[in-house]
Symmetry: C2
């Protein structure tokens, strides 16, 4: 009975364009044209219709409109999560990227239809076929390989999509300028007078950006006549712990080093803690630069020099690349610009 009542209440009197037509004394098709701003309707009619629509509190039923036109004005956004992970606990990077994406779409006149997906029972990228969106953006954790395989396969069928974070290169992606950023970081350390600069990172991580950052670092080192040196991270640990372990290992092995480039900020912050634990002065004895520009780096002691991608650009580039794909327009950019955020951890006097 409660259910029936609720249902009958839900079936509230809907105002349709026919009601507006009657109130304005015109036909339903004229209402549609007038409200859509078709210049063919006379100003007087448009006004009468607009007034009636306002008075009746009329809104176009978008489902009916879309059924006719096929246009949705919507971009689907899928956030890939770790299976079993709490969907409500997205990390700050992905939260910021999601927000940037939604904001950029909004500026282009699109709404975003967001869903979180973590397993085969809820994978869905068929938004175009379902007529729920004009295209798809996929972001989220790199680690969910099943998800990325699913979307890569879907893409074969010609749907419009772009992504950030896929573990492979043969899809349409946007990424930070990792190579250029790592080069910036390394050249900065060299300019500060550091010479034995090690890189805490990985060349084999599914995180493509880690490899790209190592490459940028190594290129800058070689250009300066210096020997690149990789301190590999231990898989499966939290990033901070990977940083701590890497430094602990360097010290235990008595490897000489006077600076560290960490392929991401959390690794750098962990490394910083371990250096402090060993009473190694930063930046006095060892210089340190991270990558990503996370906020926490501004409050560490010393504050962390880092490479900061332009996040706002990230959202815009994803949206613009997607829209270009839909419109079959050229759009060659796919690297988000980065800049050096120089703080204390790399500031060596002289």
């Amino acid at each position: 009975m409660g259910g029936k009542l609720a249902q009958s209440k839900a079936r509230v009197i809907r105002v349709t364009s026919f009601d507006v037509a009657e109130a304005a004394g015109v036909s339903q098709s004229t209402v549609s044209r007038a409200l859509a701003g078709d210049p063919v309707v006379s100003e007087a009619t448009r006004l009468r219709v607009a007034e009636a629509a306002l008075r009746l509190n009329y809104q176009v039923d978008e489902n009916a409109a879309r059924l006719r036109t096929g246009r949705t004005g919507t971009i689907a956004v899928v956030v890939v999560c770790r299976p079993g992970e709490d969907r409500k606990d997205l990390n700050p990077f992905h939260s910021a990227l999601l927000a940037s994406l939604c904001g950029a779409a909004s500026l282009r006149g699109y709404e975003t239809l967001v869903s979180f997906q973590d397993g085969p029972d809820n994978f869905n990228g068929r938004y175009e076929e379902q007529r729920k969106a004009d295209g798809l953006t996929v972001i989220g954790t790199t680690e969910n390989y099943a998800a990325w395989d699913y979307f890569r396969a879907l893409g074969e069928s010609g749907m419009h999509w772009v992504c950030w974070g896929a573990p492979f290169d043969d899809v349409t992606w946007i990424r930070s300028d990792n190579h250029g950023g790592a080069r910036l970081a390394t050249e900065h350390l060299i300019a500060q007078g550091y010479r034995r600069i090690a890189c805490i990172g990985s060349t084999t991580s599914p995180q493509r950006q880690f490899g790209e950052r190592y490459d940028g670092y190594a290129a800058a080192m070689r250009d300066a006549g210096l020997e690149p040196q990789l301190v590999p991270i231990d898989k499966g640990l939290p990033r901070e712990d990977q940083g701590r372990r890497a430094v602990a290992r360097l010290i235990a092995e008595r490897t000489p080093f006077d600076a560290l480039f960490a392929v991401c900020d959390p690794i750098a912050l962990g490394a910083l803690e371990e250096l402090k634990a060993h009473a190694i002065a930063v930046p006095g004895t060892v210089g340190l630069v991270g990558f990503d520009g996370i906020r926490a780096g501004a409050w560490s002691s010393p504050s962390l020099t880092t490479i900061e991608p332009d996040f706002r650009a990230a959202g815009t580039m994803l949206v613009d690349k997607l829209l270009a794909g839909i419109a079959e327009t050229e759009h060659s950019e796919r690297r988000v610009p980065v800049h050096l955020l120089e703080r204390e951890s790399s500031r060596r006097a002289g």
Copy 2:
């Protein structure tokens, strides 16, 4: 010509339920029933239909389905921005809340339709009338009063909505347990032996939580027989600067204090910087507790003791309260639980 070409390509061969019907040798209505899982169709038929649908790559046109049923399975989320502010540059708090909300909706089987709104030309909360969503959640900056007035007025018309961040109390909101959290913070400082505890905050801010936090602080002080003392923040400045200024003023005025409770973490971090600039030991000479549990506080030196709201709960509570409103069910919770995150800035030996 390019436009025409693009259009003709867009008008790609759509697979409908009639195509599936033909392929499976049944009627269109049977296809609809079979794919919807109607138990009335025979297992053999269901299999034939499912196979044909898969082979033809068929997906239900959700616009047509919704036009018939009226259900959307979608929650609209409006993010209120500052007018003129870059929509792509949402602060970490709102990014996290947005992500939490989308994730929570996802767990309840809903997708979220996100839009960013900042001015009268793009205000839109008419998602139910437009049949784009079953209800609305509004989050974002408190400062955009025009936006909040718009949504409050809309709410009068009986639409389903809940919000976080409105500058008034007479709407359906979810908030942190600000009073309880401030009490926790204050009692913690008292337990650590601090007595002259000042509160950096405001009792008149449109940010309702600031007033609630001051009240909780004041209540805890009085319960302990101590005198509450408010250090008001200067309007219109970045939060960090408000913290710096407040501490500078306390020192300039030679007001005695041995601890500070800041009504939010950024204010606390600014206060911490100013204390350090004056060589005042934290927590040795002055104890400090913030509110919000932002990540940066974990990396400050000393790290910041704070009150952390349960963000995951925030998204869930918003979604559940909205869904309860739609279903006309009881849902009385509206305070997100908080807990004390004890770190270094308040840890006084003895």
